[in-house]
């Protein structure tokens, strides 16, 4: 019994010391309330695209003199994001920018945030129009969907089986692109091309790897994989390289140059597309600030200056809400990958 007692006393002592340490930095934090807080919630940790986006967001917020809060759940689920939104409401932040794991499931939480006076915007993966003030659109979804199908068809020479390796089944952005891919495939010139399956790797590296292996096993005649997600395309590139399927199964999609340079140079992935995630986060940071300061209200036609990106304007989105467009998707191939791989 004595030993139990002494253990407990020791533990309490250690913990109270910790409290003492924790208390000191806590106090000045309370006094710094004057600085506006801008929060970013990304889809999950360990996603390089999200990390680059967060980097851009941080840069913009620091330029406007705000404080950045960056949150990343350990699993790409809406449940985890709801919890983070609650924590941010308690911290009385000025704006929340979110890349959603589910377009509808966050609605009650985000509505609560907006009722508390917090400006809510989505970026990368949108929430529905009632859950946000404005969405930061990376590139025209129609263009992305169509261009990816055109690329894959060109790689396989006009006929054969293709498949899609997506992120989670609820990811708004990927689903919109896949819709456009299907619309593009309805064209009669693609009558020899068959989309056999849309697989979901959930933006988790191991699941994306096993889904790719599953696709290759189930469809031995598969000729191309379109992976409109940076985690998925890198995982697929690795699987195709390991199985030496270069020139047998082609890979294209949306990928980070730094992660994909190896596969683009080797020819496993002849070319791919992406926009600059740093710019995307940067634009979101400036939009958050403009909303918080009242420069824009998220209505169509609103204009503001987004740092080095220049003047940006709010336009109507397909879902009935509004959006701010970043630009067109950029093509990365063997010729230009060298100069981009060190950038992001």
């Amino acid at each position: 019994m004595k030993r139990v007692l002494s253990t407990i006393i020791a533990v309490v002592l250690v913990l109270t010391t910790l409290v003492g340490c924790g208390g000191t930095p806590g106090k000045p934090a309370a006094g710094q309330n004057a600085k506006a807080k801008y929060a970013l919630i990304v889809k999950s940790t360990g996603n390089p695209f999200m990390e680059k986006m967060a980097e851009g967001f941080k840069k913009a917020v620091e330029e406007v003199g705000g404080e950045v809060i960056n949150k990343a759940p350990d699993q790409p689920t809406a449940e985890a994001q709801i919890q983070m939104i609650e924590e941010l409401i308690s911290q009385k932040v000025s704006a929340i920018a979110i890349s959603a794991n589910d377009p509808d499931a966050l609605q009650p939480a985000l509505k609560k945030a907006m009722d508390a006076g917090i400006k809510v915007l989505s970026l990368d993966s949108a929430v529905n129009k009632d859950s946000r003030i404005v969405h930061i659109q990376q590139a025209d979804p129609e263009q992305i969907g169509r261009v990816l199908v055109q690329s894959a068809v060109e790689m396989i020479g006009g006929s054969g089986e293709i498949s899609v390796l997506s992120a989670t089944s609820q990811a708004t952005n990927q689903n919109t692109w896949i819709e456009w891919m299907k619309k593009e495939l309805e064209d009669s010139k693609y009558k020899d091309v068959k989309l056999v399956k849309v697989a979901y790797g959930d933006d988790l590296r191991d699941k994306s790897v096993s889904e790719t292996e599953g696709l290759l096993k189930t469809y031995p005649d598969l000729k191309a994989i379109i992976a409109p997600t940076t985690v998925g395309i890198a995982a697929a590139g690795k699987v195709l390289t390991d199985k030496s399927l270069k020139d047998k199964v082609y890979l294209t999609g949306l990928g980070l140059p730094s992660e994909m340079s190896e596969y683009i140079e080797s020819g496993v992935c002849p070319w791919m597309y992406l926009w600059n995630p740093i710019d995307l986060g940067y634009l979101a940071g400036y939009a958050a600030d403009a909303l918080a300061k009242g420069t824009i209200t998220g209505k169509e036609g609103d204009k503001f200056t987004a740092g080095t990106l220049g003047e940006k304007s709010v336009s109507n989105a397909d879902d009935g809400g509004t959006e701010i467009m970043l630009g067109a998707p950029f093509k990365f191939d063997a010729d230009n990958i060298g100069e981009w791989k060190s950038v992001y």
Partner: protein
């Protein structure tokens, strides 16, 4: 019976009373609150704290019956899948035209049925441990959910349904009130009824219990059915909070629930533990997570902190059992008695 009561009375002393695991949990809870309020100026705010309880109480409903299951010496890892399946069936039947209250009843029925199925399988195939059976049903239930919704989400619930997960009555979250009612009910069931005493007896020595005329199979089926029912209750609240559902909701909820039960002082080998401990540990983990979230600690570090807390808890509770010879002797006496 007489004899045992005398032993119990002899053993009561103040020191032993205060060295119970539950007191250590209370102490930890206090420490966590002190740390939280000193690291974040936003922590000590009643309204925010009330809001915070809603972020972790959804899974707390499963913790209560899981405590029963673990006191029985069994384990149920299928609960998260039952949450997903009952939530998905509710959404599909609502969108298929059923009125919301009917859909909610269907949800509860699906959960109860899944639990009943678990229980029946477990008593039918006695040679298989509950862990193996519930691992199988875990896959089956979630599989059915995937077949129904095919990786899509379903929602569009009426506005009033959202109040379940987000609403307040007299400043207290509806969820917290409902949880309090269930907590009291489960506490009474475990500690004040013959049913509860039978659960302990089975957990301590199943063979002896069977020979003493306890309806072991029936009790097991009831406990697993309760776990299914409470999973459906979790589904009701979780779906309300999310506004829509999909087949992969509540992933890892079974791990969370088991962890909280173990932290609450329930022995993994059965026969020991109390409801109050598990309730304190729900709040302990929930508030710790919320506090760390308020200072924006990153997700992996948060997992490590909670993992350390669990290791610490298991260490202390082992130490406690080893050290307190009285308790050990008492267990022996009880076991011997049961065997007779």
């Amino acid at each position: 019976m007489e004899h045992r009561e005398i032993i119990a009375k002899k053993q009561f002393d103040l020191k032993a009373f205060f060295f119970q695991w539950e007191w250590i949990l209370v102490l930890l809870l206090i420490i966590v609150n002190i740390i939280n309020s000193s690291i974040s100026p936003y922590y000590m705010d009643l309204k925010s704290l009330m809001d915070a309880t809603m972020t972790f109480l959804d899974r707390a409903f499963i913790v209560l019956p899981i405590a029963f299951v673990m006191i029985l010496g069994d384990i149920d890892v299928s609960v998260a899948s039952i949450v997903a399946l009952s939530s998905v069936v509710m959404a599909v039947s609502y969108n298929g035209g059923a009125p919301m209250p009917v859909a909610m009843i269907i949800c509860l029925m699906v959960g109860t049925l899944c639990g009943l199925m678990n229980g029946m399988l477990i008593v039918k195939f006695k040679e298989l441990p509950a862990a193996i059976i519930t691992i199988s049903t875990q896959i089956i239930y979630r599989g059915i959910a995937y077949i129904i919704l095919e990786d899509q989400s379903s929602g569009n619930f009426p506005d009033w349904y959202q109040a379940l997960g987000w609403g307040y009555v007299a400043g207290i979250p509806i969820m917290l009130l409902v949880f309090a009612v269930f907590a009291v009910l489960y506490g009474l069931l475990l500690h004040k009824t013959t049913f509860g005493r039978s659960v302990y007896a089975i957990g301590n020595n199943i063979t002896a219990s069977r020979f003493s005329g306890l309806k072991v199979d029936k009790i097991k089926v009831v406990v697993f059915t309760l776990a299914g029912f409470m999973s459906a209750v979790t589904a009701l609240f979780l779906t309300s909070r999310m506004g829509s559902t999909r087949p992969n909701v509540a992933t890892n909820y079974e791990i969370d629930a088991i962890a909280m039960v173990v932290l609450g002082g329930v022995s993994a080998s059965g026969g020991r533990g109390r409801i109050i401990g598990t309730i304190i540990s729900i709040f302990l983990v929930g508030l710790l997570r919320y506090g760390l979230g308020l200072v924006n600690v990153n997700a992996q570090i948060m997992l490590i902190v909670i993992g350390l807390l669990l290791v610490f808890a298991v260490m202390i509770s082992n130490l406690q059992v080893k050290r307190s010879g009285l308790q050990y002797k008492n267990m022996k006496v009880q076991k011997a008695e049961n065997e007779n």
